[in-house]
């Protein structure tokens, strides 16, 4: 079932201008957001190196988004990139050139605590070899102010599998958690069958969800589908982010999954980043940020 915004209750928060808080994103539904304990920004699908009609401004879009995030009145505690940092290439040297240039651009972020994850465009052709040279392990955990973050890699295997080794690692990590711990999963592809006809799924995503299901406060933030999307699997919510290269159509809305055509009158339509406010007492606030200030 897809969750709609009409089911949410938005509250403007002090301290994070413009952030709308959604109550009920944790199982403690009904609790009211009082204030965000912290917030982070999600970038996704920057596809550095893409050149095509779907975004004539591709060489500059990421830089503009970095500037926009740097201009936030309240800087986030950290920033995450949920994959497809670069656009794929068959040339290993060019792949590294793109990863290096991407890393150089995002080094301009004011916030220096930045976490990366690969997308299939970064990692599937060489099973993450180049990606790891630049950004290290493709899956890992970290903790921040009482929330346990788990970054999962569902792209280094070109068949879009998390794989048995990573599943065992995840199971071992989750065994250390209490059932009511706050857990945020960060990944690239949807962990549920969003639209298998367009391969918007993870081959063994059901195994991940089975491991997560005993935990009452789990939220997933991901990318891959180049659009905002909200979905619930049992009590676990999944929130897809916009891209910074081109929007993709809604699932099944057209025969092919190709990019939506560029709109010269509104060049950043459907693109952006996301600010996520976290209040462990009540929930998450999600605000979509534009590429550039209007």
């Amino acid at each position: 079932m897809t969750t709609g915004y009409d089911r949410r209750e938005f509250l403007r928060l002090g301290g994070i201008a413009g952030v709308a808080f959604a109550s009920g994103l944790f199982s403690t539904a009904g609790a009211r957001a009082q204030a965000a304990d912290f917030h982070f920004v999600q970038f996704s699908d920057t596809h550095w190196g893409y050149a095509g009609a779907a975004n004539p401004d591709a060489a500059h879009t990421l830089e503009k988004a970095v500037a926009t995030v740097n201009g936030l009145a309240s800087q986030p505690d950290f920033i995450v990139f949920t994959g497809d940092l670069t656009h794929t290439t068959d040339d290993p040297k060019e792949r590294r050139t793109r990863l290096a240039r991407f890393k150089e651009i995002v080094s301009a972020l004011r916030v220096k605590d930045v976490r990366f994850m690969p997308g299939e465009h970064d990692a599937a052709l060489d099973r993450g070899e180049a990606y790891k040279e630049f950004f290290g392990a493709p899956y890992y955990t970290f903790d921040h102010k009482g929330v346990h973050f788990i970054a999962l890699d569902n792209v280094s295997d070109p068949a879009a599998k998390v794989g048995d080794e990573q599943l065992a690692w995840l199971a071992a990590d989750l065994k250390q958690r209490k059932p009511d711990d706050r857990i945020v999963v960060l990944t690239h592809r949807p962990l549920f069958d969003l639209y298998p006809q367009w391969d918007w799924t993870t081959a063994d995503g059901a195994k991940v969800m089975e491991l997560l299901m005993p935990y009452r406060n789990v939220v997933v933030f991901y990318g891959h589908i180049h659009q905002e999307h909200h979905h619930t699997t049992g009590h676990i919510q999944h929130h897809a982010a916009q891209s910074l290269i081109f929007p993709l159509p809604q699932a099944g809305s057209q025969p092919k999954r190709g990019p939506l055509p560029f709109d010269a009158a509104n060049p950043y339509r459907g693109l952006g980043t996301r600010d996520v406010g976290v209040s462990p007492a009540s929930g998450y606030g999600i605000k979509e940020l534009p590429v550039a200030k209007a």
Partner: protein, 123 residues
């Protein structure tokens, strides 16, 4: 989702050491099936459109010319790896008419998202 949508008898085995995969539910009881060859290479299937009759038993013989590809047809809950040097066999008997897409689900480069084909099932 997929499991609720399919009523086809099907089965796909992983590539076997023998190099040929044949898997079929109730094979012995079924009549001879028409064979359809589909070749995969970046970023296309040949043919990209196949036509079968409703209720017709067919065998898809899948080969790869350049590298490993995938074959996925979610509407019928079918998927297989297509490995160079191996003929992967998929048997199906469509029970619904319409147009159904198949596509590569093993990332193969810039153009992977366009690697797809259509099975037309005519009544």
């Amino acid at each position: 989702m997929i499991d609720r949508r399919t009523t086809l008898r099907w089965l796909i085995a992983a590539p076997a050491a023998a190099g040929l995969v044949v898997a079929a539910a109730g094979l012995a009881a079924e009549p001879a099936a028409r064979e359809i060859h589909i070749s995969a290479k970046r970023f296309e299937y040949t043919p990209s459109t196949i036509t079968v009759k409703l209720g017709e038993s067919v065998v898809l013989l899948l080969t790869a010319e350049d590298r490993i590809h995938g074959f996925k047809m979610p509407d019928f809950n079918l998927r297989a790896d297509i490995v160079p040097g191996v003929t992967t066999t998929v048997r199906l008997t469509p029970d619904r008419a319409g147009k159904f897409s198949y596509f590569c689900d093993v990332f193969c480069g810039d153009g992977h998202e366009d690697m797809e084909g259509t099975m037309i099932v005519v009544a």
